[in-house]
Symmetry: C2
């Protein structure tokens, strides 16, 4: 159950893009918490369940830092997050993992791309906001855990690689659909990205970097793009 806000940020205000970005990152953290907590239930044992639950808790600490920063910008954290609820919720509903490996692959794929994207956009921000966004990116501990689980599963049963590769492609496809929708709805942020990148070619280069990094991450765990 979510509220739909009718109050769009004022794009003429210089801070509008920052609020849009911080709102997006904050909601992504809240959702990452929610998703990891749910995925923890799919864990095959209590040790893995505890590891994932602890990682989920870290997201909430990050969420609070972002919400506090939004308040410092004079924004309401809930209002800043609300525009992203529908698109991200739809993405997650369309890509509900069926088991532990699908859940980890989803986290691995999604967090990798999201972190790269946030890192790129953070570079266009003033130092205080930039540093905060860089600090709340997922630490490598989580990626390493997911990567090790995926690799181990493929080692046991190589057929798993095909299934998870197809799953990862579906995740990226659904993700791109929602990302395009969000870009159209969050004009201030889109302008920030276009201006930060220099021009249309700069945006293309940014997307190319995101794609290349994703392909490398897939290969690193034995999945095909």
């Amino acid at each position: 159950m979510t509220e739909v806000s009718n109050s769009l940020p004022d794009v003429s205000e210089p801070a509008a893009a920052v609020v849009e970005l911080l709102g997006m990152v904050a909601y992504a953290e809240l959702l990452a918490f929610d998703r990891m907590a749910a995925d923890a239930r799919l864990a095959p044992d209590l040790r893995r369940r505890a590891v994932l639950s602890e990682m989920a808790a870290v997201e909430i600490v990050n969420f609070r830092r972002l919400a506090t920063r939004l308040t410092e910008h004079g924004a309401d954290a809930d209002e800043a997050m609300t525009p992203y609820v529908a698109a991200l919720q739809e993405y997650h509903e369309l890509t509900e993992p069926k088991d532990w490996l699908e859940a980890l692959t989803k986290a691995y794929v999604w967090d990798g791309i999201a972190d790269d994207f946030f890192r790129e956009v953070a570079a266009f921000l003033a130092p205080k906001d930039r540093d905060l966004v860089l600090e709340v990116l997922h630490d490598s501990q989580y990626n390493d855990f997911a990567a090790a689980e995926i690799r181990a599963a493929i080692a046991v049963d190589p057929k798993v690689a095909n299934r998870l590769s197809m799953w990862a492609r579906r995740l990226v496809g659904e993700g791109l659909t929602q990302a395009q929708r969000m870009a159209g709805e969050h004009i201030a942020l889109t302008i920030l990205i276009v201006e930060g990148s220099g021009d249309q070619a700069g945006v293309q280069a940014l997307l190319k970097r995101l794609t290349a990094a994703h392909t490398a991450r897939m290969a690193a765990v034995g999945l095909n793009n």
Copy 2:
């Protein structure tokens, strides 16, 4: 999915009761995290969802402290928690909240009784374990939040009190069934409680204190026992 351990703690060892208790509290924390994270989805708005998610994260910090202490006792945290998985899972499956108010009432009722119980039993432990158990009890912030939400809902619609009172009675009934089952299965802990209480009359007095405190908590939010 959970593992069932065949290795029962050695009741002749003095630390067995401590390990049984810490294992129970640790699993209760892991489950409280899980339940609060799931309940957060039922929240009527993003603010309340964030509040509950943040409270869930606190449980995980407590879980880690208990797991560390179990290791100091030479126990394996997973093994110590495993015997409680089935009973607590069954309780939660039998009492799945249908909405936000049922979820909060469940947390309010269950955490209140569990905290009182853990507080009573902690008194029978050596200082280091006793202090740890007392420190991981829920702080009043969470109870206050749940109580305020329940009171506010009853103020808006007094009929809510009847529905939630019935719900709370069902929670207590199911909880007692599982508690009896656990008492029969965790002999070292049961002996600790009987010996700590002095005799059978002491145990009766303990149960009476738990019941009285529960009744007072119900009345405090406008529910009937």
